[in-house]
Symmetry: C2
Subunit: 293 residues, 2 copies
Amino acid sequence: MKECFVMKEDEKKNPVFFSSPLERSGEALFIIKIGGNVIDDESNLYSFLKSFASIKEKKILVHGGGKIATTIGNKLGIESKYIDGRRITDDETIDLVTMVYGGLINKKIVAILQSLKCNAIGLSGADGNLIPATKRGNKTLLSGEAINYGWVGDINPDNINTSSWQLFINNNLIPVIAPLTHDEQGHILNTNADTMASVLSIALSKWYHVHLIYCFEKNGVLTNIHDETSVISELHEKFYNQLKQDKKLFAGILPKIDNAFNAINRGITNVVIGNSDNLLQLINEEGGTKIIA
Amino acid sequence: MKECFVMKEDEKKNPVFFSSPLERSGEALFIIKIGGNVIDDESNLYSFLKSFASIKEKKILVHGGGKIATTIGNKLGIESKYIDGRRITDDETIDLVTMVYGGLINKKIVAILQSLKCNAIGLSGADGNLIPATKRGNKTLLSGEAINYGWVGDINPDNINTSSWQLFINNNLIPVIAPLTHDEQGHILNTNADTMASVLSIALSKWYHVHLIYCFEKNGVLTNIHDETSVISELHEKFYNQLKQDKKLFAGILPKIDNAFNAINRGITNVVIGNSDNLLQLINEEGGTKIIA
């Protein structure tokens, strides 16, 4: 396991001040995930990327999709398809998200970061086989109906190509990752960005003190979704299970929290869920919801 | 300048056979450019990529656009705009080509190459600032009319980031490059793929024995565009100038040949223009048009 940031005896007597406690480690790595709500608003996105660019430590940005894929899909006559509440990625939808996530969003972010002197490199999990995945198999419902999710990828967490990741990170190339993988049969797969960030954090925690930050449009995990001041500052698993049982959390946030617990339970240094507007505070462990192992 | 492939005295007496003369150098680098005609036909593309994947030496693939951008643009209601015969890249067109070139085409090629066990990594000139560029300035016509080309990039040939290129090439990451750059102001720029391949070849020729191969749908530079057997096997600049003067070459191929001469005159090992169906022959210096300094 990793070293903790424990003060040495002489530091206690004569403390050294840091602008952030994280500057103590040359090996801190921030893995930051943003979702559609940040991406959809140009001015929000720019201000977020300005904060991201200013982080001095090693860093990776994982981005999700956004409404723009739906907007462009509508113009192209591609309808969103759902079976049993799950989105299905058919042939035309995988082409759409490959264009929008892998092209439009990814390269726009890269161009903005480059203008901010942050040496961003836009990639997907398919590039360099950085995040190996497998096409999700069919699922049979209780009714007997089989669901074919289409071109959806499930990550193989034990096969992350950590040497290529280190090559980028240690050579001042800042990865900006689109939520796409491939199936080793020549097809791109639509892949959950929250899971990507979590799996990547776990794999790289062997080499770095990984801090995983999930940024979204809310101030953290809220006990009352209509009250932004109802942030749970520290979330233990027992408390989380109780909140789930009491149906106090909205369904959309559950997979994000599950990914966060998965990461913190597998040895990464720190996991925080918070508002993308407050990235620099979240990095300094101020605000948001800290996930506790 | 670089070493030539000169046989040693004992090899002359007792020659060693190579499947390709290029295998003699650990430092050979093939930079191969494909255009729209290869990309537009799925079966052609697959067969080309199978040949590309089988090349044992270090390699880079630069791809152009293709009709698919026009097809998707039409569906989205984006018309191709021309002024004085030049295509203009306005706001909606740059988004279109960023999606299609940087996303759809680039990632499809990566997924196919990965399935062929070729460790492709899809990038653009903007990623890692690999190919620095500047937005093309307005041009004033004789009529006094000013042409604004829009989001078009002119490459800065002296600033190619060769250390990052070497990082990929020397670590078995095979770059697949989309014809996009950025303007350092946060915008993506549409950039000519032929020029990218030429400029990159020149920059990397300091480190590798670069072989630049322009693949397209014809067998080479033809004296009669309707006769595929009229291939000029070796093209000297003097002969080229004569052919241009006599208007024997179709206009579309002139920028490609100019790029080819620019490369061969700047010290790269070999430049060939030929048919994408014959990639492996072209690599072995069989067929196509060899550009002679």
